[in-house]
């Protein structure tokens, strides 16, 4: 009986491809995503960074911007990474490449990229004067909680783009799909657009929704003052009722007696959102949901690539 010859399995193949990707990071200018990510983070924090984690409005807007930056970074990392070398993968699949091993190598490589981008984003935020919560919700260090969330958002978006890149057959289609996916994430984040009915269910499939929830929880959104109501009252303070301006009198009285801050905090509590509760269980649940989406994207990527031999010549 002849001895059956075995070839290198998935783990060795993943190691081969990881090495390839790391070399290409240097030679193929993939490193450019890092300074580009820093530039985008700087631009966003410059515009919306001052009030983040200070007031509810500032937090919501700033967190939304941070989520967008993270999703953008993740998308850009991998949207072309598979489809640009689809024919090469097809050739290598003929020679014994396992798609699971290839995607696993991509996952490790993209993970390193995403960790680096998270560090850069946090560094840029710190330099730009964004006050990251000192105290964490899950861990005792707020920076770590925030970092884990930004990393998970970036990495999940990265895997989503990897999935798209594995499904489509060329870079043009991938780049056409990307803005659509991004808009989908923004609209269905559940933050700025009122969602109802079926649309309200769709938000559970978005990275932005779970990312927003997690970051707002870590930023203790529900415990922050709400300024929008006060500003609104100020706008209407000159309303005249039979020669009196009761609203103005009330606001002046509140400011004179130092009740303004109490009022803002009270308004914030009334405006609390259950999904943003600053509880460890809530944040961990959001992380788990992001991880679950990530796993789904990875599985779809592998399955899609398994059909690569069906590509027409």
């Amino acid at each position: 009986m002849t001895k059956r010859i075995r070839h290198n399995g998935g783990l060795t193949q993943s190691r081969i491809y990881l090495g390839k990707f790391l070399r290409m990071f240097v030679f193929q200018n993939d490193w450019k995503v890092l300074p580009l990510g820093a530039l985008i983070a700087a631009l966003v924090t410059f515009v919306v960074g001052t009030n983040i984690f200070k007031t509810q409005e500032g937090t919501q807007m700033g967190v939304f911007a941070l989520v967008c930056v993270s999703i953008w970074n993740g998308f850009f990392n991998s949207i072309q990474s598979v489809c640009r070398e689809r024919e090469i993968i097809k050739r290598e699949h003929r020679s014994g490449l396992q798609m699971g091993a290839y995607i696993f190598a991509q996952m490790i490589y993209q993970l390193l990229l995403c960790v680096a981008q998270t560090a850069i984003t946090l560094a840029v935020c710190s330099v730009a004067g964004v006050t990251i919560p000192a105290e964490g919700v899950v861990t005792s260090w707020g920076m770590l909680d925030t970092g884990i969330t930004i990393f998970l958002i970036t990495y999940t978006a990265d895997m989503m783009a990897l999935m798209v890149s594995s499904i489509v057959r060329n870079t043009t289609t991938a780049m056409t799909a990307m803005p659509f996916l991004l808009i989908f994430q923004l609209i269905f984040s559940g933050s700025f657009f009122h969602l109802s009915g079926f649309a309200d269910k769709v938000k559970y499939l978005t990275i932005s929704y779970w990312g927003m929830n997690s970051l707002c929880s870590i930023g203790r959104y529900n415990e922050q003052p709400m300024v929008a109501l006060w500003n609104m009252l100020v706008k209407f303070e000159n309303i005249d009722i039979e020669g009196y301006t009761p609203l103005k009198d009330l606001l002046v009285e509140m400011e004179k007696n130092g009740y303004r801050d109490d009022f803002l905090l009270w308004a914030g509590q009334q405006n609390g959102i259950p999904e943003y509760a600053a509880e460890a269980g809530n944040v961990i649940f959001n992380w788990i949901m992001l991880a679950a989406l990530l796993i789904v994207f990875v599985i779809v990527s592998v399955v899609a690539l398994e059909f690569i031999d069906r590509d027409k010549r």
Binding site: I5, H7, G9, R23, E87, R94, R313
Partner: protein, 454 residues
């Protein structure tokens, strides 16, 4: 009453426009040589027929199906009210997409039609205003005649192989224990529910140490045959390599076969040596010692003249070097069967000759090397055998010859390999159109020489 009148007038208008378009298309179908001219009157089918006559069969089917779907939607919505609001919106969206799709395909058809009639592109404007106008003009205008009517073959190609006497008798009874044994009954593909024959009745034995040229015109099935031989696209066939069944044990056998595709499918931003080394890691058996692997990599790089710039990036290499890197990636695993799809594509004569000389050396090591090339005569002296594939009158790829280059010249009565290819090419392609004759002659010759069953 007013509502009914509006409905009636809109229906009458639709019928009138349909009639105008259909009359024009019915007349046009005569000029386009439609087999079934009544199709001009049937929504959906008319686009299928139009597509077929313009050598756009696939587009014709898509367009026809889309038109039918839209008609069904209108029929349903004009008689029933969809209660579910979400479903209604989704259907509206779907129909909108279908309508856009239909118009894009129609424009494609009309552009092709304009080209066929040798008209100026501005005719498309007329089409955009009302498509029945140009159809009527082209249909009834005697001065408008098709100048460049495509050959209507796509729709029927491969659906009915030509009846060639003796062709089915070429199959071997037993597979050879050494070398490559090919015994292919048929290779078919499903295309829009139609069974198409791509290859039929090909049987040959190639001894080890042979350098074999695979010849044939465009569409004769060269790449299909190669893919069938190496087991990548399986056919109804038996393929054995040194006694081992390629199909039955494909997972193991694929490591004993090297296939170099036509394009240089290599990552540009990696070094040559790492590219070949990674290929070795992927293809060599588990447990191969690092030293043995590295020695093999260097051996292959030396053989193919790539050692000098091995530390350089792939992207910096010339066309000839890229081809050799692509060959090295497969050769590094020391395959018994080595198949190359146009390794000389895009290369000048000197570089191409250099590559084929290397392939000769590889064959001399006892391997079987099969090469597809479109410029055979400059290197034919290096080859041991020639396989000639030809498309029969039913557009199915078949074996027209297998033997030495000298035997091929005598069999076809030509003094060059290009001449041989021209003799089996169709007349429309500038060839002699003798494919059926040579397929039958070779089948008779193979049967008379024995080793094959009649």
């Amino acid at each position: 009453m007013a509502v009914f009148q509006t409905y009636l007038s809109s229906q009458l208008r639709s019928i009138f426009l349909w009639a105008l378009f259909s009359i024009g298309l019915w007349k046009l179908s005569e000029k386009l040589n439609w087999k079934h001219r009544w199709m001009a009157w049937v929504p959906g089918l008319r686009y299928m027929a139009l597509g077929n006559s313009l050598d756009m069969a696939r587009e014709g089917i898509v367009c026809g199906v889309v038109e039918i779907l839209i008609d069904i939607f209108y029929l349903v919505t004009s008689n029933y009210t969809i209660q579910n609001e979400n479903l209604s919106v989704a259907l509206d969206l779907a129909v909108l997409i279908l309508i856009v799709m239909l118009y894009v395909y129609r424009i494609r058809f009309f552009i092709r039609l304009i080209r066929v009639f040798g008209l100026k592109t501005r005719w498309i404007l007329l089409w955009l205003i009302a498509e029945w106008i140009p159809v009527l003009i082209l249909g009834f205008g005697k001065q408008y005649q098709p100048k460049d009517l495509p050959i209507q073959e796509e729709w029927v190609a491969g659906t009915s192989p030509a009846e060639i006497a003796g062709a089915e008798g070429v199959h071997s009874l037993t597979a050879s224990e050494t070398g490559l044994s090919v015994d292919l009954y048929e290779r078919t593909a499903k295309d829009f529910l139609k069974k198409r024959y791509l290859l039929k009745d090909i049987s040959l034995d190639i001894p080890n140490g042979s350098l074999v040229m695979l010849l044939g015109g465009s569409g004769s099935g060269k790449t299909t045959l190669v893919n069938a031989i190496i087991g990548y696209e399986k056919a109804k066939a038996r393929m054995t390599l040194n006694g081992a069944d390629i199909y039955r044990d494909y997972k193991r056998m694929k490591y004993r076969i090297g296939f170099v595709p036509q394009k240089n499918l290599i990552r540009g931003n990696d070094t040559v040596i790492r590219t070949v080394d990674d290929a070795a890691l992927l293809r060599l058996p588990r447990g191969t010692k690092i030293r043995a692997r590295r020695n093999r990599v260097h051996e292959v790089l030396d053989l193919l003249g790539l050692s000098a710039g091995a530390e350089g990036l792939v992207t910096k290499k010339s066309g000839g070097q890229l081809r050799r890197i692509s060959i090295a990636m497969e050769l590094v695993s020391d395959p018994e069967l080595f198949v190359l799809d146009e390794p000389d594509s895009g290369l000048d004569g000197v570089i191409a000759r250099e590559i084929f000389t290397k392939l000769r050396e590889i064959a001399d090591e006892g391997k079987i090397v099969i090469v597809i090339t479109h410029t055979p005569d400059r290197v034919i002296d290096l080859f041991d055998k020639v396989i000639v594939l030809a498309r029969d009158s039913g557009r199915v790829g078949r074996l027209a010859f297998y033997g030495s280059p000298q035997e091929a010249r005598e069999f076809f009565g030509k003094d060059s390999m290009e001449g041989i290819v021209m003799s089996v090419n169709r007349k429309e392609e500038g060839g002699d159109g003798l494919a059926d004759h040579f397929i039958a002659s070779y089948a008779a010759l193979a049967a008379s020489e024995g080793g094959v069953t009649a």
